[in-house]
């Protein structure tokens, strides 16, 4: 074999090793390598593992001069489909780093929203965030988003 062939063989062997580790993690949540090393390969084997029974949506409120709280329209900041918007609003990669990183992420997000809103002529002394959650329904995504069914939960703990 030529040196190039040895290189390719080594690369193929490494790929197979990483994929088998990803598979082991998929099945037993264990692998020979640390999770960080196999996360990408595990991720290619692991779509759609669980489900929820409630819809979730991030809600921002700004404190006005008179001390009341006003809901801020977040749609312009999170364009795209509802599914993609939800993924982004949950700050999934921060969430994977733990509660502290998630809390810092939401604190930074609230401050950025305050500044962007000020640029658009809407001044708030403070912005707070929560997540609205309401039951899914066959009749449509927002159908049961009514006060009686909707709960505000903490975006970090999701409780």
């Amino acid at each position: 074999m030529r040196i190039r062939d040895y290189g390719i063989s080594l690369g193929v062997a490494l790929y197979i090793f990483l994929t088998l580790n990803g598979l082991a993690y998929t099945v037993a949540q264990r692998s020979l390598l640390p999770r960080r090393a196999v996360r990408f390969f595990y991720g290619m084997l692991a779509p759609y593992q669980s489900y929820g029974t409630n819809n979730v949506e991030l809600v921002a409120e700004g404190k006005t001069k008179d001390g009341s709280w006003e809901t801020i329209d977040l749609l312009p900041y999170f364009p795209g489909s509802t599914g993609e918007r939800t993924f982004r609003e949950l700050l999934l990669s921060r969430r994977a780093q733990g509660e502290t990183a998630t809390a810092q992420g939401y604190a930074g997000l609230a401050e950025q929203i305050r500044i962007k809103e000020m640029d658009r002529g809407r001044s708030y002394s403070e912005v707070r965030l929560h997540i609205d959650t309401w039951p899914m329904a066959p009749d449509g995504y927002e159908v049961l988003r009514l006060p009686v069914f909707t709960k505000a939960i903490d975006p970090v703990s999701l409780e």
């Binding site: 390719i8 193929v12 598979l23 290619m44 692991a46 779509p47 669980s50 990669s93 930074g108 899914m136």
Partner: protein
């Protein structure tokens, strides 16, 4: 042992016709074009300082992380335009290696800048396929490269087998891993997970309409079992020429179903990627094929 080594060397290192890889390249390029054109109206919000900056690493002065500072809108448009140029180069097979490298670098950059919160399994598969195909010589047929070089876009040159084999293994392993998970995961032990797939944030209007038919739970239970059987069978049947057409049809039906119910059309890319399981010689017209060494015209 020696026989096994010889077989594996032949499997990964033999020179093969590039047609399967070219089909995958065109499918990948087309998918990436459609996927990224969706973001054209939102470049300002996702990639410039006009939107919310949520980079993977917070920029710290004096470090490389400063590259993840959201740029001015004009720079964001320039980078987005470069990405489209790279993807088009891949699709058309023109300046393929440079186009792939440009695409990969920009996908990493935009991923760290904004898309890390949306990095799901399909995103990883898409990126992995881009990297492997970028190294494969998938532009050695059905490409502008071959048109300019040989006067025919169907002219072809041999390529190494390993990129095609790796992509085939990856697709099979993805189905295998998903099938294993669905067998053991508590949430996949009844049809409830699929019933809720028709009414969640991803669900299409058609899915909501179907949900309103109020089908009994055994229908969803049956669908769940069907999905498990399919994911168990595909990693084997995709490799078997005798059953391939049925495996392709079943896989296509499944991904069309996912598109219709959840709007996740990008998984449809896996269907043309099944070309990885096809002997590339089958793409070459019978009687007009050339030996696998040297340049030929299909």
């Amino acid at each position: 042992m020696r026989k096994l080594l010889h077989a594996s060397r032949q499997f990964f290192l033999e020179p093969i016709a590039p047609h399967s890889l070219a089909v995958m390249r065109i499918a990948l390029g087309g998918t990436l074009v459609i996927l990224w054109l969706r973001y054209l109206p939102h470049v300002d919000m996702y990639f410039s300082h006009q939107g919310l900056a949520l980079p993977y690493i917070d920029p710290m002065p004096g470090s490389l992380s400063m590259l993840l500072t959201h740029p001015p809108l004009s720079v964001a448009y320039a980078l987005y335009g470069l990405l489209l140029i790279g993807i088009l180069g891949m699709l058309l097979g023109y300046g393929y290696r440079a186009a792939s490298l440009l695409t990969i670098v920009l996908l990493v950059y935009l991923g760290l800048l904004s898309f890390h919160n949306f990095l799901a399994s399909w995103g990883r598969l898409l990126f992995f396929t881009t990297v492997i195909l970028g190294m494969s010589g998938a532009d050695k047929t059905y490409s502008l490269r071959m048109y300019f070089k040989n006067g025919s876009w169907t002219a072809w040159e041999k390529v190494d087998a390993w990129p095609q084999r790796i992509l085939a293994i990856q697709i099979a392993m993805t189905y295998f891993g998903v099938g294993l998970q669905k067998t053991f995961l508590p949430d996949w032990q009844s049809g409830e997970i699929l019933a809720y797939a028709f009414v969640n944030g991803w669900s299409t209007p058609l899915a909501h309409t179907i949900a309103q038919w109020n089908m009994p739970m055994w229908v969803y239970d049956g669908m769940t079992i069907g999905v498990k059987i399919l994911h168990g069978a595909l990693p084997i049947t995709l490799w078997m020429p005798r059953y391939q057409k049925y495996a392709f049809a079943a896989g296509a039906a499944f991904h069309i179903g996912v598109t219709v119910v959840m709007g996740m059309w990008w998984f449809l890319l896996l269907v043309p990627l099944y070309a990885a399981f096809v002997n590339p010689q089958r793409f070459v017209k019978p009687g007009n094929s050339r030996p696998l060494h040297g340049t030929g015209k299909a």
